[in-house]
C-alpha cells in the first residue's frame, strides 16, 4: 500500500522549521504595536472568600493607570467551555488562589506590578475544601453557591450484573490508586495582545491560543459582540498540550476589555509563576477498582469508582471524566461492568484538558491491576492481556461493537512482546527481584553504613525490571461534542497553493501534515503549499484542536478539499485532451500524465486560470454519528479507535530509590502515518512526558496554594533523564481518516507511566499505587510532603 504514495508516510521537514531555527518565528510576546499598553493582574492571597469591596483609592495618584474589573463587562460575567462558572474578573467570591479581581492597564509594566499592592480588598474568608473526598459531605460549603452542590458531573456506566460476576469469580481483589496534579509546562508562558480595529468597533486578538474559535466565542460573549467583530489570530504557539484553552480565552477577554476601554493595543503576558498559579492542570484522580476473575484469567466483573478533583471551576471536567468512564476498564472485554466517575469542585487549582485527557489515570490503575491478576493466577502480563484484550467484533464496556477498522490491540501487544523478548525477561527479572531484593532490604529505611572491608555489589543495588501497558483510545471527541472540521485550499495560477484548516498548529506539526495530504492528492510537492496563518476571520470554526483529532478530522477535510479541486482539473483535462475516461490520469511529481503525454502542474493551473476554472474549495468532514445513553453509560462512544502497547525497561537503585528508564519500546497503531518524522516526534515527546508523570512530576498544594511555581521545583524531564525510546508503527486500516490516518499524540503519553510502574514492580518486587514513583515513594513507601492525604493502597 505505501508504495502507492508519493509523499505520505515519508519523513518531511516541517514547514515552519526554518522560521523556528532562525529565531524568526513570531510567538505571542514577540508582537509589538505602536502605543501598546500592558495589563497586569491583581490577585488576593486567599483561597476561598466572599468579596465585600474593592478599594482603588490607592491608585488615585496614578491617573496614567486604568483599572479594568467587573464593571467593564457588558456581556457575560462568567464564562466556561462547558459550564459558565468562571468569572473574567471575580466579583462575588474568590474560590482559588489564581483568581483575578481586576487588571491594571498602563504603559509601564513594571510600575503596574508594584501598583497591584495598592488595590485593597475587603474579604470574608470561608471554610476551605481541599480534599475532594470531602467535597460532597452534607456540611460542605458550596464553592459555587448557585450550583447548590459541589458535584460537577457524575457518569455512571452499567453493563451486565456486576454482583453476579463477582459471585462467579474465584478471585476478587480491590485496590485504590491515586495520581497527582500535573502542570502542562509548555515552555512558552501565556501571552496575548488585543488590538482595537479602528473604525469598525471590533477587536483583533493575537496570542498563544490553542483554540482560536473557542477564544473568539468567549471574547464575543464577554464583550457582547457578534462573533464576526472578534477576530482571533494565532501567534506561533510555544506548546499547549491541552493547556492553552480556557485560561487563554479569559486572558484574551481581559485584554479585549482593556483594548476597547483604552482604545489602545493591550498586551497581557504572564510570568512563569503567574502561569502556574492561574492555569489549569491535569486532574488528580482517586480510583477504586474491584475485579473478579477465575483461574483461566478471564475477568468476570469490574467495579470502578473514580473521583476527579475538578478544582475551583468546571472547565473541561465534564469531557475529561467522560473519556474516563468510557475507557476505565481498559481495552478489555468484560461481561459485567459497574463504573461511576465523578468530578467535584474544591478550592484547589482548577483542572481541565491535558494531553491524555482522562486516560493516563485509569490506565495506570487498570494496567497495574492486570499485572496483579496475572501474578495471582500465575501467567505472564502478556498472557493476561491476550486473554482479555479486545479483538475484532469485541464489545466494549459501553456496549460498542468494534468493527470497520483493524482492531489491532493484540497485534501491537504481540509486536512489543517480540521486540523486547518480554515474557522471558519479565520472568528473569522477577526471580531476581524476589530473591535479591530481600537481601537488600537491610539497606532500606534505616539507612546503611558499610562496615570495614565490606563492599557493595552493584548487582545487589541496581535491579532491572520490565513492564508493559496497553490501551485502546477513542479517536476525536466522540459523543462529547459536535465533530466537524473545515479546510480551505486555493490553488494559484502558478501551481502554488494556499491551505488552511479550522484546526490550529500547536507545535505538533499540523501545517506540514495537512500540506502533505493536499500535496499527495494533487501530486505536487508539499513545498508548493503555503499554509496560511490561523485566523478566525478566514476559516470556518472546526471545533477545538484537542483529542488527537486534527489528523483524523482536519486531515479528512483537507483531503476532501484537494479532491474537489482535483476532480475539476480532471474534468477540464477530459475536454482539453479529448479523452473519455479520467482513469488514465495520473497526478504525480508535479505533473499530470495521460499515457504518453503530460502537462506540468503549473501549466495545468495556468490553463485552468485562463479558462476561469474555480481552483478554490472548502473541504468538510463531519464525524459519523455517535451516541451516549447518560443513564446507563452505553453507546457507540467514538466512531473509531487506535491501539498501543508500550514496554518499559528500568533500573531501580534500591539505595537511593532512583528509577532510571533504560528504554521504552512504543508500538502504536495510529492508522496511516502521514509524516513519519512528525509521528516519531510525537512518540518521543509523549513518552518523555509520560515518564515525567511516572517518576517526577506532581504539583502539590496547601490550602489551595501551589507549592511549586517555577521550573526550579516543577521537575519535568531533562535531556539526561531518560534512556532509549524506540517507536514502532503498525498501520492498521480504517474507513475513516485520510487513507485511514487517525490519532497518535495522546496514545503516546497515556501508556508510559503504567508501563514504568509495572517495570518498577518487576524490578523491586513491590507495587506502588500512586504516582509519581519518586525516590521517596520507592525507598520509604510514602511521600515526604505534608499533604500526603490521599494515596493509593499500600503494600
Amino acid at each position: 500500500m505505501s508504495g502507492d504514495f508519493n509523499i505520505v508516510g515519508r519523513s518531511v521537514v516541517r514547514q515552519d522549521a526554518y522560521a523556528k531555527v532562525t529565531g524568526q518565528a513570531k510567538f505571542a510576546d514577540d508582537y509589538k504595536f505602536p502605543g501598546m499598553l500592558f495589563g497586569v493582574m491583581v490577585r488576593t492571597d486567599v483561597s476561598h472568600a466572599l468579596i465585600h469591596s474593592i478599594d482603588y483609592s490607592g491608585l488615585l495618584d496614578y491617573p496614567e493607570v486604568t483599572v479594568c474589573d467587573i464593571n467593564d463587562i457588558r456581556g457575560s460575567r462568567k464564562v466556561g467551555v462547558v459550564t459558565a462558572d468562571q468569572p473574567v474578573f471575580c466579583y462575588e467570591k474568590i474560590v482559588t488562589p489564581g483568581d483575578v479581581i481586576c487588571m491594571l492597564v498602563g504603559a509601564d509594566e513594571s510600575q503596574l506590578k508594584l501598583l497591584t499592592a495598592k488595590v485593597k480588598t475587603e474579604l470574608e474568608e470561608l471554610p476551605l475544601i481541599t480534599d475532594p473526598e470531602k467535597a460532597l459531605d452534607p456540611d460542605a460549603t458550596f464553592i459555587h453557591p448557585d450550583k447548590k452542590s459541589n458535584l460537577i458531573v457524575h457518569y455512571p456506566l452499567r453493563k451486565g450484573d456486576v454482583e453476579k460476576g463477582f459471585h462467579e469469580s474465584k478471585h476478587v481483589i480491590e485496590q485504590k490508586y491515586t495520581t497527582p496534579l500535573i502542570e502542562h509546562a509548555y515552555l512558552e508562558p501565556e501571552a496575548v495582545t488585543a488590538v482595537p480595529i479602528e473604525g469598525r468597533g471590533g477587536v483583533r486578538i493575537i496570542g498563544s491560543i490553542q483554540n482560536p474559535h473557542t477564544t473568539r466565542r468567549i471574547v464575543a460573549e464577554v464583550l457582547n459582540f457578534p462573533l464576526t467583530k472578534v477576530r482571533v489570530v494565532q501567534a506561533e504557539l510555544g506548546g499547549a498540550f491541552g493547556g492553552k484553552d480556557d485560561l487563554m480565552n479569559i486572558i484574551s477577554a481581559r485584554a479585549a476589555i482593556a483594548a476597547i476601554k483604552t482604545r489602545r493595543p493591550v498586551k497581557v503576558r504572564y510570568t512563569r509563576e503567574e502561569s502556574v498559579v492561574e492555569s489549569y492542570k491535569r486532574h488528580p484522580y482517586i480510583m477504586k477498582y474491584k475485579v473478579g476473575f477465575n483461574d483461566d484469567g478471564i475477568i468476570k466483573a469490574m467495579k470502578i469508582d473514580i473521583l476527579a478533583d475538578g478544582g475551583a471551576y468546571a472547565s473541561m471536567s465534564p469531557f475529561v471524566t467522560w473519556r474516563t468512564v468510557v475507557q476505565a476498564t481498559g481495552p478489555y472485554e468484560i461481561e459485567n461492568v459497574h463504573t461511576d466517575v465523578r468530578a467535584v469542585y474544591t478550592n484547589n487549582p482548577y483542572t481541565g484538558a491535558m494531553r491524555g485527557f482522562g486516560s493516563p489515570q485509569p490506565i495506570f490503575a487498570q494496567e497495574s491491576l492486570m499485572d496483579e491478576i496475572a501474578e495471582i493466577i500465575g501467567v505472564s502480563p502478556y498472557e493476561i492481556r491476550k486473554i482479555n484484550g479486545v479483538k475484532p467484533g469485541s464489545i466494549t464496556a459501553s456496549g460498542h461493537k468494534l468493527r470497520d477498522h483493524d482492531v489491532n490491540l493484540l497485534s501491537v501487544l504481540e509486536r512489543a512482546e517480540r521486540e523486547t523478548n518480554f515474557t522471558e525477561r519479565h520472568k528473569e527479572c522477577s526471580r531476581s527481584a524476589n530473591t535479591k531484593f530481600q537481601t537488600s532490604q537491610k539497606f532500606r529505611g534505616s539507612g546503611f553504613i558499610l562496615k570495614k572491608d565490606e563492599m557493595l555489589d552493584n548487582r545487589d543495588i541496581i535491579k532491572k525490571g520490565i513492564g508493559l501497558a496497553v490501551s485502546l483510545r477513542g479517536c476525536s471527541l466522540g459523543a462529547e461534542g459536535i465533530d466537524a472540521a473545515a479546510a480551505y485550499l486555493s490553488v494559484q495560477k502558478d501551481g502554488s497553493a494556499y491551505l488552511i484548516s479550522g484546526l490550529a498548529e500547536n507545535g505538533q506539526g499540523l501545517r506540514t501534515t495537512f500540506s502533505i495530504i493536499a500535496a499527495e492528492v494533487l501530486g505536487i510537492s508539499p513545498e508548493h503549499i503555503y499554509y496560511l496563518e490561523q485566523d478566525t476571520g478566514i476559516i470556518a470554526d472546526s471545533g477545538p484542536t484537542v483529542a488527537s483529532r486534527s489528523t483524523i478530522m482536519g486531515g479528512s477535510a483537507v483531503k476532501n478539499a484537494a479532491e474537489i479541486i482535483k476532480k475539476r482539473f480532471e474534468e477540464m483535462l477530459l475536454t482539453y485532451w479529448n479523452i473519455k475516461s479520467k482513469d488514465q490520469l495520473l497526478f504525480k511529481n508535479n505533473r499530470v500524465y495521460e499515457q504518453s503525454r503530460s502537462i506540468s502542474f503549473s501549466e495545468l493551473c495556468s490553463l485552468a486560470y485562463s479558462k476561469g476554472l474555480n481552483m478554490s474549495a472548502i473541504g468538510w468532514f463531519k464525524g459519523p454519528s455517535v451516541h451516549w445513553d447518560e443513564e446507563k453509560g452505553q453507546g457507540a462512544a467514538y466512531f473509531t479507535y487506535v491501539y498501543g502497547c508500550q514496554v518499559a525497561e528500568v533500573s531501580a537503585n534500591l539505595l537511593t530509590g532512583e528509577i532510571f528508564v533504560d528504554r521504552i519500546v512504543a508500538v502504536h497503531d495510529p492508522g496511516k502515518i502521514i509524516n513519519l518524522m512528525g509521528a516519531k516526534g510525537q512518540v518521543f515527546g509523549g513518552v518523555t512526558q509520560g515518564a515525567g508523570y511516572a517518576l517526577w512530576e506532581g504539583i502539590t498544594t496547601y490550602n489551595g496554594n501551589i507549592r511549586e511555581n517555577n521550573f526550579d521545583q516543577i521537575l519535568i524531564p531533562t535531556s539526561k533523564d531518560i534512556g532509549e525510546i524506540e517507536s514502532i508503527f503498525l498501520e492498521g486500516e480504517d474507513i475513516y481518516g485520510a487513507w485511514g490516518a487517525k490519532s497518535l499524540g495522546e496514545p503516546t503519553l497515556e501508556l508510559t507511566a503504567a508501563a514504568i510502574a509495572n517495570a518498577v514492580k518487576n524490578a523491586t518486587g513491590l507495587r506502588y499505587f500512586n504516582l509519581p514513583l519518586n525516590p521517596e515513594e520507592i525507598l520509604l513507601s510514602r511521600k515526604l510532603s505534608p499533604n500526603d492525604l490521599s494515596r493509593g493502597s499500600t503494600n
Binding site: S11, V13, R14, D16, A17, Y18, A19, K20, V21, T22, G23, Q24, A25, K26, F27, D29, D30, H184, A185, Y186, L187, E188, P189, E236, L237, G238, G239, A240, F241, T271, R272, N506, G507, Q508, G509, M677, G678, K680, G681, V683, F684, G685, G686, V687, T688, Q689, N710, F711, D712, I716, P717, T718, S719, K720, I722, I725
Partner: protein, 150 residues
Amino acid sequence: MIRRINLTINGDKVGIDVQPSMRLLDVLREILNLTGTKEGCSIGECGACTVVINGNAVNSCLIVIGQCEGSEITTIEGLEKNGELNKLQKSFMEKGAVQCGFCTPGMIMSAYALLLKNPNPTEVEIQEAIAGNLCRCTGYKQIIEAIKSP
C-alpha cells in the same frame, strides 16, 4: 543612571545607552528587537533565553547588561551567515528536532557553544550541554541526533 555599554552582537559593534541593571534578555528583546531569544522562566532554569557570550552558553535572564561591556554576544539571529544556515540549524530542521519551536533558539545556542569547544561531542556530552535547556515537546531524542551529526 544611564550608561553606554559597548558590545559586539552577531558580529556588529553596537553602543547602547541603557540602565546597567537591565537584564541582557530585555536589552535583546526590547531594545535591539532580537526576539528570537525567548523568556520561559526568568530564573535560569529553562534555558529558552540562552545566548553565547564570549564562547560560553549563558542564560540571558540572569545577566545584567552592565556585566557585558566589551563582550561578544551571539544570538540565534546571528547564526545564519550570508543566507547560509549554520550546520546546526540545518540538522535541527532535517532531524525533526523542532516541534513548537519555543525552546529551539536556546537549545541551538547551547549546542553551538558546545561545538565551539568540542567539535565531536559524545552523546553524554551533548546531554550534559543541553541539560539546562528544557523541552516539553520532543523528548530530546531528535535534538540529540541533530547535535550529533550536524
